[in-house]
Symmetry: C2
Subunit: 196 residues, 2 copies
């Protein structure tokens, strides 16, 4: 009953994370109302992303060039490396306009349940890029079981390399209410208290 | 910071209804993990939908052929025409496996707020397809202000044409949209239809 090409487009939209049958149908039908130009650009963007994007050999970030825009930016502080799980985390960090160092993208986190081991992550290139100039490595993985495990592992293999290894702070999120915070967060917030 | 081609793909995903910056970013990044084959099929499906799909000249439904699959199905009851807003409603109706007649797709509803007038809708072809064989026209527009207005308008212009005009029962919850209703509600709505 649905034209075959529309049915195929619905199937393609269902590949997207968290998109069910109803949303996929809605997305596909919306393409009929979109301008031909927009849809052609959409199709081109899909193909471009697959053909043009590669990972930066230095940090593992996504790039279309030989080196990513952050690694090739000489105005940034190349002595400080912030280790994150994925490119999404870089986007979040950059939105703060606060961090001026460079990044290292692990492309995942150590997970026993998902069977992701340290050797599956982009860790080897982190050790390779360390040199006498490297002053600090900030471990900015998620405050979850997997993020903690990965941070602990990295701390262990980085010890003795003569570089300062730090972990981002835990505590109450800004705007958060004390009575809504979970116990572990509160314990961490008290442990991490600072003189005002 | 984000590669240009990824940025463009995020923009394209933002064209989809109800998709904000965060979801668009997530969708675009998920394409990097998808297989090249899947992404190529996605791009092809987008273009196919724009180039292959046209509206059925009889009922206004979407089709890739000269006539839509329902209009060209001789096993269906062509004496009964169910008038709906869009193709999404046909999909919903067909899922009930209850209705055996044909459809007429208005491609919208009369709306004073959106400035949609009767002449903007696919109504002329409805009047043209009426003949001595037509026994009943079921008005199956949404149970919303716009759907009701459209149903009343159609009832008015169809009166005196010697055809029975019915409205689906108000088993449909008020304010609800046809394409979100569950199948039983739709079956009840068809069974409980009344002469206006």
């Amino acid at each position: 009953m649905i034209p075959a090409s529309l049915e195929k487009l619905v199937e393609s939209f269902r590949l997207l994370p968290g998109v069910g049958a109803k949303s996929a149908e809605r997305y596909a039908l919306s393409m009929l109302d979109a301008s031909l130009e927009d849809v052609e650009e959409f199709a081109k963007a899909l193909l471009d992303v697959k053909t043009k994007i590669k990972t930066c050999p230095v940090c593992g970030n996504l790039t279309e060039e030989d080196k990513c825009s952050i690694c090739s930016d000489s105005s940034r502080d190349h002595h400080t490396i912030c280790v994150v799980q994925s490119m999404k985390d870089i986007i979040a960090m950059e939105k703060t306009n606060e961090y001026k160092g460079v990044y290292h993208v692990l492309q995942g986190l150590i997970s026993t349940t998902k069977g992701i081991l340290p050797e599956d992550l982009n860790i080897k290139s982190l050790l390779e890029r360390l040199n006498d100039e490297t002053k600090e490595i900030i471990l900015a993985t998620n405050a979850t079981m997997e993020g903690e495990t990965t941070a602990l592992y990295l701390d262990k293999i980085l010890s003795g390399k003569g570089v300062l290894v730090t972990r981002i702070a835990y505590g109450l999120p800004m705007g958060g209410h004390l009575d809504y915070a979970d116990e572990l967060t509160l314990i961490k917030a008290i442990e991490g208290r600072k003189k005002i």
